[in-house]
Amino acid sequence: MSKKELQELKRVTIRFAGDSGDGMQLTGGQFSDSTALAGYDLITLPDYPAEIRAPAGTLFGVSGFQIQFSSEPVHTPGDTPDVLVAMNPAALKVNLKHMKDNAILIINTDAFTKRNLELAKYESNPLEDGSLKGYQVFPVNITTLTREALKDSPLSVKDKDRCKNFFALGMTYWMFSREMDTTIEWIEEKFKNKPELAEANKKALNAGYSYALATEIFTTHFKVPRAKKKPGKYRNITGNEAIALGLITAAKKANKELFLGSYPITPASEILHELSKYRHYDVKTFQAEDEIGGIGSALGASYTGALGVTTTSGPGIALKSEFMGLAVMVELPLVIVDIQRGGPSTGLPTKTEQADLLQVMYGRNGEAPIPVIAAYSPADCFRAAFEACEVALKFNMPVVLLSDGYIANGAEPWRIPAVENIPEIKVEYVTKSDDYKPYERDPETLARYIALPGTPGLEHHIGGLEKDESGNVSYVPENHDKMVRIRAEKVERVGNYVKEPELMGKDSGELLVISWGSTYGTIYNALEEIWQEYDNVSWYHLRWVNPLPKALGKIIKNFKKVLVPEINLGQLVKIIRAEYLVDAKSFNRVRGLPLQTGEVVEAIKTTLKG
């Protein structure tokens, strides 16, 4: 790559890959932080094996971390990386096929031993057999150089070797003209009780940087112009962190205690971990005995006036569905967070998918509609979580928040909102009444009027049996018909209250792309490409999937064709077809990975032609 080419580079995707034990997530995380602090927009994608400690050197033990950064808005972690840091043969093997032509490969040659080549199922050494032709290969004996740099350190050889990821990080810092301060600060904080480790990691980082500088092994370093982001204060945030903060913020703004009832499950556990730290924010977390206990305790807490939340992934939703039905019936606010992963059954625990949509929409006995909101990016999870709480509290009913493994673990810069600009959430209860009826409703929202236990004179019962307005159990046929319709109508009325998404592109044309959730970034990029060539394609990205935006029916009528790309076998498309009697087409890939820009572009073009 010549200097001239490099200066034209607008966006870069880099992938760190190695053994699970090589510290790649940490390396990637540090690279992201210093990239964000240097003023770039970025999105990250951690990709780690499902096994906790996969055998070293194996293909299925490869752990990766990808980040795309740019001076322009970034919407995905990048389809095909420009740079790969491969710490061993397995990491090279697994990732090579995803790389761009002529990509830069920085390879730790020390790891290319006979044994490791065998474990990676290489018949010959790719560094020697010419199979890496077409790439820019930079072989570096990272392990040896790290040991050399640490020769005065009192650490054992094994511990010294664990510093080699910082050597690699140091090289990339030089390559992308990054400052090392943030990482040095981080190392000092992290190892403040183990000064010899702090010292060694700092040395390795510096050694990597100096090595790249001195040897000039890389022809030059990248200079990517800085992003022009909206003014404000930023931080990097993952989807799961953003949900935790969104929930705490909503509870504070509603002047409520936050109660999380949850059971550990990948990839949702981080929300439980995160919230468990904040006892001093009036957050009570309850790690229940199972998924059912998680939601049941949250509903119990809601009954007393707390903001009850439960967090899980698809398999957990399956277990919670009976309680979701009870929440519909007793009409109490409850937020159910589903961080989708590959299914069915245990499926692909650490991979992403959008295949829980129909489960959360319809996976309950009886007529049990629940509003569903889907977050579209890591930072958006904050707003989506807040909105889910707002609706649950305003309408006194359960709300599902959908995220997925991709945005849960992925990170991007988040413009921190000013606390005073976040709206208060007003919640009122009945405190006095001569004739309290537990199922009497607000005429506008249809939310029932709630009296909290502890309120004198308003003792009453709620439960899973059908009730009439007075709260008495009723098996009267007309009453049931009426109540079923009211519960459905209440979900519809959420549509009067929430903001509808904007149509991107022209109001009418040939093709309308409809999407939801984490495919936002990919489709954004795809549309950018499409719009350079076509002006008859528009895009509508849903935020609330239930209820559907009121405008959608009209919008659809203005287009000849409809395409719905999803990471499932076509779930939203079923709803669209049923709801609007339109011959919507679907584009699906279900690999446990985000969709790729290129394939969405292709799908759009094919649909246009078809």
């Binding site: 003023g39 109660f259 006892r279 009570k284 707390a306 003792e459 019962h461 899973g464």
Partner: protein
Amino acid sequence: MSDTLTKELKLTREDFTSDQEVRWCPGCGDYSILAQMKKVLPELGIPKENFVFVSGIGCSSRFPYYVDTYGIHGIHGRAPVIASGIKIANPDLKVFVITGDGDGLSIGGNHFIHLCRRNIDITVVMFNNRIYGLTKGQYSPTSERGKITKSSPYGTVENPFNPVEMALASGATFVAKTIDREPKHLAEMLRRAAEHKGTSFVEVYQNCPIFNDGAYSPVTDPKRKRENVVIMEHGKPYVFGQNNDKALNWSGNDFEIIDIEPEKPPKDLIVHDEHAGRPALEFMLVSMTFNPDLPTPIGVFRDIKEDTYEDLLIRQIDFVKEQKGEGDLEQLLNSGKTWVVE
């Protein structure tokens, strides 16, 4: 609770009578439990609005409708988790779980043992009729092996649970057993369970005249019961028999029955100690339940003081607040590495 408070509240049994028509079968043991509960509630010195009754599904689980307090009739087996959420979120409430042998030990067994383990201040009353009543007569997890029911026409091949044993093993800090036909004893057990701080558990032998009539006749039949039941009382020897002429003696590794003179019982008889917290002895007592040669013990098996879940949690919250200060939202959102774009 203090008497003065009770007097101030001036609550009576009528205050707890709901307007709902009670719909148990005539002669059902549940009526007696309801009657004694309504007698006990006004005596607890707790404002009426602070009571919450939570239930699952089954005949027993209709109970909340029949007391005029706050109540949730939930889903099968799950009352303990709803109750846990309620109590943890608002420790000022007095929370009861009303359950049965099927609801509490079969579908809800997991929640039951975890509730006991956590020692959340909730009173669990289990109506044990050793049968499924609401679904019309299948065997339950407390039905004796060999029992012939609709779903076991040739007899069950399963061993039953002993609810008290489960509660003891799971760590409940108050565990008692009583009988629907012994209203005074029943009321006393309910009252003590309700007053206990921590998870309290009362198993009530409850007759289901429709599907399992006479399941407890050996311990309820006036002619036989004195021979078959030993009422455990703290600090007193285990005396029973038609004329109080028998006692349990501890042989060193087992209980044995000895004859005594009611007027002059031997001085060295082992006496009951509810607060001992000695599992070995507690379990020996429970094990007599299924032993045809020994009487069935009723009364309090265990009554010990331990920190409750919610007290520990509140202490933890206070501690974290002391260390870190009251949480500030501005600070939370702005934590970690931040940077400013001009």
